[in-house]
């Protein structure tokens, strides 16, 4: 049914969020992508943080020194957050992007097939039996 904890924390983070970084590159796991960050160089940028799986319990962070042309090779597919910090530790901007899988993820497809066949077969068999009466 339902659960609401931390509504206020969620709300607050929306309003405190830094502005969006202005770039539109798309990413694929393991493939290098050049990101042009030259427009931010006047704002004393210090580093670039890449957060894999933001807001999840599997969150992982990589930190890179700032460079105007950032060569980014995503380590994981999924949702990522790119954050640019300045010298004072404040966020200059942040943006969320999706990282594509490099091909078909075999384990993911196997789990999909297993869970799908378990649940759909269970539904089909039990409903068939129930409605037979």
């Amino acid at each position: 049914m339902i659960k609401f904890f931390f509504l206020f924390i969620f709300m607050f983070s929306f309003f405190l969020g830094a502005s969006d970084c202005d770039f539109s590159e798309s990413f694929t796991k393991g493939k290098e992508t050049m990101i042009d960050l030259s427009s931010l160089s006047e704002r004393n940028p210090l580093n670039i943080r890449v957060v894999y799986g933001p807001d999840s319990d599997t969150v992982r962070e990589s930190i890179f020194p700032f460079s105007e042309t950032f060569k980014f090779v995503p380590e994981r597919a999924g949702i990522i957050e790119l954050i640019i910090d300045d010298m004072d530790g404040e966020q200059i901007c942040s943006v969320k992007r999706s990282v594509y899988f490099d091909g078909l993820p075999l384990t993911g497809i196997l789990i999909f097939l297993f869970a799908g066949s378990f649940l759909f077969t269970g539904t089909f068999l039990s409903l068939k039996n129930a409605l037979k009466d």
Binding site: I2, L7, D57, S98, T107
Partner: protein, 502 residues
């Protein structure tokens, strides 16, 4: 008083599945799956389904069919006074949940009405200092709705809809669910097709099922999976016992339990796919809660659809939420009505009038638009703050506590062997002795662990986090009210002399 029965097996299955399939299936499951390593969440989830979900749902259905009474009266047959007290505790606890659940459905109705036009444009909410264009659309509209006195009107409409749905008991419930439940499946399939045809849509599907195995060693993911199964199947409310009490004696309860469970979890899986395709396509991480997912995250995603499809899918999404919510809330109300009718032998109309007056007052309290925190450090309005705190106790602890006591009484007082004999009476698939240790040891043990870890985290501050001064007091008042209302009330009701049916 003659007890009505379901006209058809299909009607019962749709009603029970409709009860289990609620708002949480559509939004809370995907949020949990994302939080706990996506595909890696499926392993503990399926284990929880087999070892906790299926046995409890079969047990709840079993006592309902055996005694053909509502939850407190059935539990009285199981374990006397203590059993009946547990039953009334479940009823009073779920009454609190029903009151705010219907308030939330009132907000969903508000969003549905707005989704026909204004929801997709920015709105200012001066009460919270939100100017047009400064907050995402979902947030601004949600706070505009909850801070409006007119929302009470929406709550009244949802209450009337609910009372109409259960007016003639199984007769009206069956008619409504036969339309709503299949419609929910159709709506969800349309959402999946839309999601998969978005750029990167299939990547969302891959993301949902590709595991991050490193998380499997974390206790949190297992706790999350077992809690998810407990809540998603509507266990601990007494709903399944009530619905099964309207079944004919010769029903195959084991198969019925499996049907409801599998339908619920299959729906949850397809909902997960639909939501994940959107999350990936629009790079949204589903942080926070069910409420956040429903009113902030999903509208944020849908708003990015091209052209007129925004309105179409917005309306579809909120209609889906309202339908799922209605089939759940009507089952909660029927459980309360059945308990009152059984205990006091009063007419259904009188019972519904009592429920309507008391319940509507509670729901109006949760929709109080008075802004107590314009900075949004807390939940903003008095109604939402009360809702948040009571949900913490009633939903977070009340249901688990009922589940724990129920399994203890059925396993140890009534006897696991007796229960198996009841369950196996007309079952095609019979339950073996392996069921006994599950009911007597494993399930109460797991629930005790979930409860214990929750209580432990209370010592780390409000919701396990450092809190904001005066809000603490309201949190404690909510706890005191909940203990007096649910625990004190259940003692009084169990002590009361009943009518001829009791």
């Amino acid at each position: 008083m003659t007890r009505t029965t379901w006209k058809s097996k299909f009607g019962f299955l749709m009603a029970a599945a409709g009860s289990a399939i609620g708002l949480g299936n559509i939004v809370f499951f995907p949020a949990n799956a994302y939080r706990f390593g996506a595909g890696a969440f499926y392993l503990p989830y399926l284990i929880a389904l087999i070892f906790l979900g299926i046995p409890i749902i079969i047990m709840e259905l079993g006592i309902g069919r055996a005694f053909k009474k509502g939850f407190p009266s059935s539990m009285k047959e199981v374990a006397g006074f203590k059993g009946e007290m547990t039953g009334w505790f479940a009823i009073l606890n779920s009454s609190v949940i029903t009151m705010y659940y219907i308030t939330i459905l009132g907000w969903v109705l508000g969003m549905l009405i707005r989704s026909f036009s204004s929801l997709w444009t920015q709105v200012a909410v001066p009460e919270f200092g939100i100017e047009a264009g400064t907050a995402p659309i979902g947030i601004s509209h949600f706070f505009s709705i909850i801070s409006s006195p007119g929302t009470a009107g929406l709550v009244i409409i949802v209450w009337i809809m609910n009372i109409f749905c259960i007016l003639k008991g199984t007769k009206t419930i069956e008619k409504i669910v036969k339309i709503l439940v299949p419609s929910m499946w159709i709506f969800m399939i349309i959402m999946i097709i839309r999601g998969l045809t978005l750029p990167g849509g299939f990547q969302g599907l891959f993301l949902l099922f590709t595991p991050d195995m490193s998380i499997l060693t974390s206790a949190e993911v297992w706790k999350g999976a077992f809690s998810q199964i407990f809540f998603t199947l509507s266990l601990g409310f007494g709903i399944m016992t009530t619905y099964a009490s309207y079944l004919p004696k010769k029903s195959d309860i084991v198969n019925d339990g499996l049907s409801v469970t599998f339908m619920n979890c299959t729906f949850e899986m397809i909902a997960g796919i639909a939501i994940f395709t959107l999350l990936f396509a629009f790079s949204i991480s589903p942080r926070a809660s069910t409420l956040g997912m429903m009113f902030f995250v999903m509208p944020e995603g849908i708003a990015q659809f091209p052209g007129a499809t925004v309105t179409i899918f917005g309306v579809l999404f909120f209609t889906l939420l309202l339908s799922a919510g209605l089939t759940s809330s009507m089952s909660l109300l029927e459980t309360v009505a059945s308990a009152i009718i059984d205990k006091f032998s009063i007419s259904r109309k009188k019972a519904l009038l009592i429920i309507f007056v008391v319940g509507l007052s509670g729901s109006i309290m949760f929709s109080l638009p008075h802004v107590i925190d314009p900075e949004l450090n807390a939940s903003g309005t008095l109604g939402l703050t009360l809702l948040d705190f009571l949900d913490h106790w009633a939903f977070g602890y009340g249901l688990l506590l009922t589940g724990f006591l129920q399994t203890i009484f059925i396993g140890w007082v009534f006897g696991a062997d007796r229960l198996r004999t009841l369950l196996n009476e007309n079952s095609k698939w019979t339950i073996g002795v392996w069921f006994n240790p599950l009911i007597k040891f494993l399930i109460p043990g797991i629930i005790a662990l979930l409860l214990g870890s929750g209580i432990f985290s209370e010592f780390s501050g409000l919701y396990g986090h450092s809190s904001t001064g005066s809000i603490d007091n309201l949190h404690i008042y909510a706890l005191v009210f909940w203990i007096f209302f649910a625990a004190g009330g259940s003692f009084l009701l169990a002590k009361m002399k009943g009518g001829t049916n009791d």
